[in-house]
Assembly symmetry: C2
Homo-oligomer: 371 residues x 2
């Protein structure tokens, strides 16, 4: 059973954001798969990445493509929807129906644009907590997600330790490195350099900052793939031609691929959301409320945890994921770690990786059996 | 003795470019340091990188900063101008006085813009050969350069093997990987996305594509530094503030650094030159006229060679430089290789690297003594 829903929360008491500002009511658009059991003990909260959304395993309403984790979530799959009740909310700041810059500001009656308050990963998690409360789930069986999704997992473990039975942070980090911030800043500058961005107030204009957003997406794609994967997939192959054309056309397949990624992305994503969500990722530091100490940040965590990294991921490399494992080990928690050997780069958590699928399935089933 | 000169060559017979088009007359702006000896046996040809120029070791006329290799070239330095006659021409396609898109097209009387023909690394070398002939130098003592400069060195070794006594290719490759092409394509798309680019015809317009060029430069800077260097230099340090500002300002030092690199670059560099030169780098394949064989490409090379790479360079990693060493070894040439341990990334050839300076000096002096 797949359901797409939208709920309005924090109506009476707006949510206090990390910035000190308040946001409310908060609209959360979410999708559920499978059925919540009577004990409400089988909920899996899936947290999406930067450009992901709630369409985890169902057709995307804009692109008409399969959901971003269709190979992982579904009947009989690693996250088995015959067994688990999967919930995936679009994060606040997003652009697929949850409160974000492209939604209407109830105060002005116009789109928020850059009047939307700056939000953090912790704010996204606080908004997700409102949804979980609304669904009357006292304890989530498992919180999981890759990349930014993994940051949300870590924040859940730190902020609401009693509500998380188990967790699977994937290809993530406890905070952004200077290189991570640099790549996001490049993307933001590309968007803001587009005159159609109009300081974020482009919604009623016929011209949207699609060129800037497209360049931002190209930069992201370069960082999602490993050097080896790019080389084996594209190398120096030419695109639909036998010889160089001595022009600025897309002579090489890699150029054509990047242009395509850029062009298609702008149909489904909002440039302001890209600014807000990358900002939240750069600001994220799970220790920020804990004096910089990872031990302090996770001192109340009791969950069973599986951490997963990929060998060729240079954006959130194994070393960053091992930091997470190390702190959970220091705290004597039940933590497992698996590094998947692959040349798929950071994107590996979205690709066909049988060992990854196996690890997810094994952990979820054995943990569920022991409840 | 430092001299800045400009010469017009290929007046009677325009240069045949790889594209099949012809370019001529060719203006070459170049700088010389030191004095050519009577035997004309002490010339060192320095080939600059993508955004370098002929101001190797003298004040830059626009930025007023020291030349880009002031720490390497000069009296008593690794490339000792008391001993060697250093020549550095601005490449064709460049923007510091040599024939390029911002210069006047003699046919139209207006700036070339994108009517300038697409040029290759081989075309740049053919133009340099005209200059060396003009200077009456039969054999260059040493050809050297880093990054794109190293590509020119390789092309010299392949195309004019009898004119090169020795060579030092630094932090380079025999062709661009898919990742290299991807990063350059990102830069080109950033420039061409700027409406002020006006398909390259912006010279008489008050508005130049500075925002697009600035984004391109930011992307390049991320690739020039290693992840570790970015982390130790910037980490998550805030810029002139103690707390996050919850805005899109440059909160982090790395953001401020990148914005500064972008803003300042546009004063000294032409956006169209950036397009042409990155295109030449992506097109470069030293084997392209030799059936894809490195052995064939260098079969007539007789020079003494020193190859240098840097451990943390992920743009032109040691593995790419070793390919070059391997082919010279197969050919039984006198080739040395040194990998410098540093976290400076690709930019290391421009930084204070004592072991690098030592290697250059040692090779040049001992090779010169044996002439």
């Amino acid at each position: 059973m797949i359901e797409n829903k939208t709920v309005e929360l924090a109506k009476d008491q707006p949510l206090l954001l990390d910035s000190g500002k308040r946001l409310g009511p908060i609209i959360t658009a979410y999708t559920t798969y499978g059925q919540l059991n009577d004990e409400k003990s089988n909920a899996v909260l899936v947290c999406h990445a930067l450009t992901g959304d709630q369409y985890v395993a169902s057709k995307h309403p804009i692109t008409q493509k399969d959901g971003w984790w269709s190979n992982v979530v579904g009947p009989g799959k690693s996250i088995d929807t015959n067994k688990f009740f999967v919930v995936c909310p679009n994060v606040i700041g997003g652009c697929m129906g949850s409160s974000g810059p492209k939604e209407i500001n109830p105060v002005s009656g116009k789109e928020f644009g850059t009047d939307f308050p700056i939000i953090t990963i912790a704010d996204m998690v606080k908004a997700q907590k409102l949804l979980i409360d609304y669904l009357n789930i006292k304890k989530i069986f498992c919180v999981t997600g890759g990349s930014m999704g993994g940051m949300l997992v870590l924040e859940w473990l730190s902020k609401f330790p009693d509500m998380v039975h188990s967790a699977i942070p994937i290809a993530t980090a406890t905070n952004h490195s200077a290189q991570n911030i640099a790549l996001n800043e490049l993307a933001r500058q590309a968007i803001m350099a587009d005159p159609n961005w109009q300081t974020g107030k482009y919604y009623s204009s016929p011209d949207k900052p699609t060129k800037g957003l497209s360049v931002a997406r190209m930069a992201a794609h370069i960082s999602y793939l490993s050097k080896d994967a790019l080389q084996s997939k594209f190398g120096r192959n030419l695109q639909d031609r036998n010889e160089l054309e001595y022009s600025f056309d897309a002579d090489f397949q890699i150029e054509s691929y990047l242009r395509h990624q850029g062009f298609t992305f702008v149909d489904r994503f909002d440039a302001n959301s890209y600014l807000y969500i990358t900002r939240a990722m750069d600001y994220f530091d799970v220790t920020s409320q804990h004096g910089g100490s990872l031990i302090e940040a996770f001192k109340d965590t009791k969950s069973k945890i599986l951490c997963i990294s990929f060998t060729s991921d240079w954006l959130y490399p194994t070393s960053e994921n091992k930091k997470i494992v190390k702190v959970f080990n220091s705290l004597g928690l039940d933590v497992s770690f698996i590094e998947i050997e692959t040349d798929g780069g950071h994107d590996s958590f979205l690709l066909e990786e049988p060992k990854f699928f196996e690890a997810l399935k094994g952990f979820l089933n054995s943990t569920f059996d022991k409840i």
